[in-house]
């Protein structure tokens, strides 16, 4: 398999090759995301029975939990690309990190929003200073900080590198923040809520949730690939191959 050779990866880390690869991949990811989404929602809304305690209201988990997962996964992915970018100085890393950030912020926001909508009927309040909700809020702030910093720096390379550093610093801090908020939560003995740990979660509910999570994964991948293509066009606009593409599109 040539996939295991360093050349293979280096080849696709170059903007031109990646542009082509991303262009071939994203429609498949998008189509798969739609299919998985439809299937997941079908299971979640048409097949899964009502929950014994929470009635029909529990169905919010089909977006809430996958969105929370994605918001964390995307931040880790950003940190991963940042480490790669700072160590190997690849041009692609900065573009990937920047393309991931808005989607990550959106999922963090969705997680907070759906959490609030779930909280109101279940615990009678829109917001609880629960460890998980609070850390999610701080994660949302970290995303906003990254986006604000990278968009405030005009120089591309400097913006990429500064963003990479703040993403890594943030990623190191996320577990510490989570731990500290959890500690704070137990100290104050405030609302300690378990959203997802109903012990006898029906098999079909779990499947619905997993399918939705996979749908969000593929949605993210498709969108990020699409965004990176835009960035590549913009950054490589002076090169001959981009000129050719522009010409053909005209």
């Amino acid at each position: 398999m040539n996939m295991f050779r360093a050349n293979f990866w280096l080849h696709y880390a170059g903007p031109q090759a990646f542009y082509g690869l991303a262009g071939r991949l994203w429609p498949w990811c998008a189509a798969l995301a739609v299919a998985l989404g439809v299937w997941g929602l079908w299971l979640g809304f048409m097949v899964a029975p009502a929950d014994a305690q929470q009635g029909e209201g529990y169905r919010i988990i089909f977006v809430h939990v996958p969105a929370s997962w994605m918001s964390m996964v995307i931040y880790m992915a950003m940190a991963f690309w940042s480490v790669l970018g700072l160590t190997f100085n690849t041009r692609l890393s900065g573009m990937m990190t920047r393309a991931l950030a808005p989607t990550g912020a959106m999922f963090a926001f969705l997680s907070l929003w759906t959490g609030a909508l779930w909280g109101k009927p279940m615990w009678g309040t829109w917001w609880v200073w629960d460890a998980r909700l609070t850390s999610e809020l701080i994660l949302f702030f970290l995303y906003l900080g990254y986006i604000a910093l990278t968009s405030a720096i005009d120089d591309q390379r400097r913006g990429d590198r500064a963003g990479a550093l703040i993403a890594i610093v943030g990623a190191i801090n996320v577990p510490i923040i989570y731990f500290s908020v959890k500690w704070w939560n137990t100290l104050h003995q405030g609302a300690s809520v378990s959203l997802t740990k109903s012990p006898s979660m029906a098999q079909v509910m779990l499947w619905g949730m997993l399918l939705m999570a996979m749908c969000f994964w593929l949605y993210t991948i498709a969108l990020v690939l699409y965004r990176v293509r835009t960035t590549i066009l913009q950054r490589e606009s002076h090169t001959a191959w981009v000129q050719t593409i522009v010409q053909e599109a005209a």
């Binding site: 029909e56 926001f109 929003w113 909508l117 109101k120 009927p121 965004r227």
Partner: protein
């Protein structure tokens, strides 16, 4: 099928506002994001094309 009628489906056992509020905002956000990415892509292409024609 677990629902007996559409009204029942939309009511979600009294949780309709919350469940559909979540679903609506989620799909709305995703739609906006996709639309934004598309328009950014086309905008850049148009801009590059304009520059390209300017050079000719």
């Amino acid at each position: 099928m677990i629902w007996e009628s559409w009204t029942q489906f939309w009511a979600m056992g009294g949780y309709g506002l919350y469940v559909w509020g979540s679903m609506g905002v989620t799909s709305g956000c995703m739609a906006i994001e996709v639309w934004q990415a598309r328009s950014a892509h086309h905008q850049h292409l148009a801009q590059l094309r304009a520059e390209h024609e300017g050079h000719l």
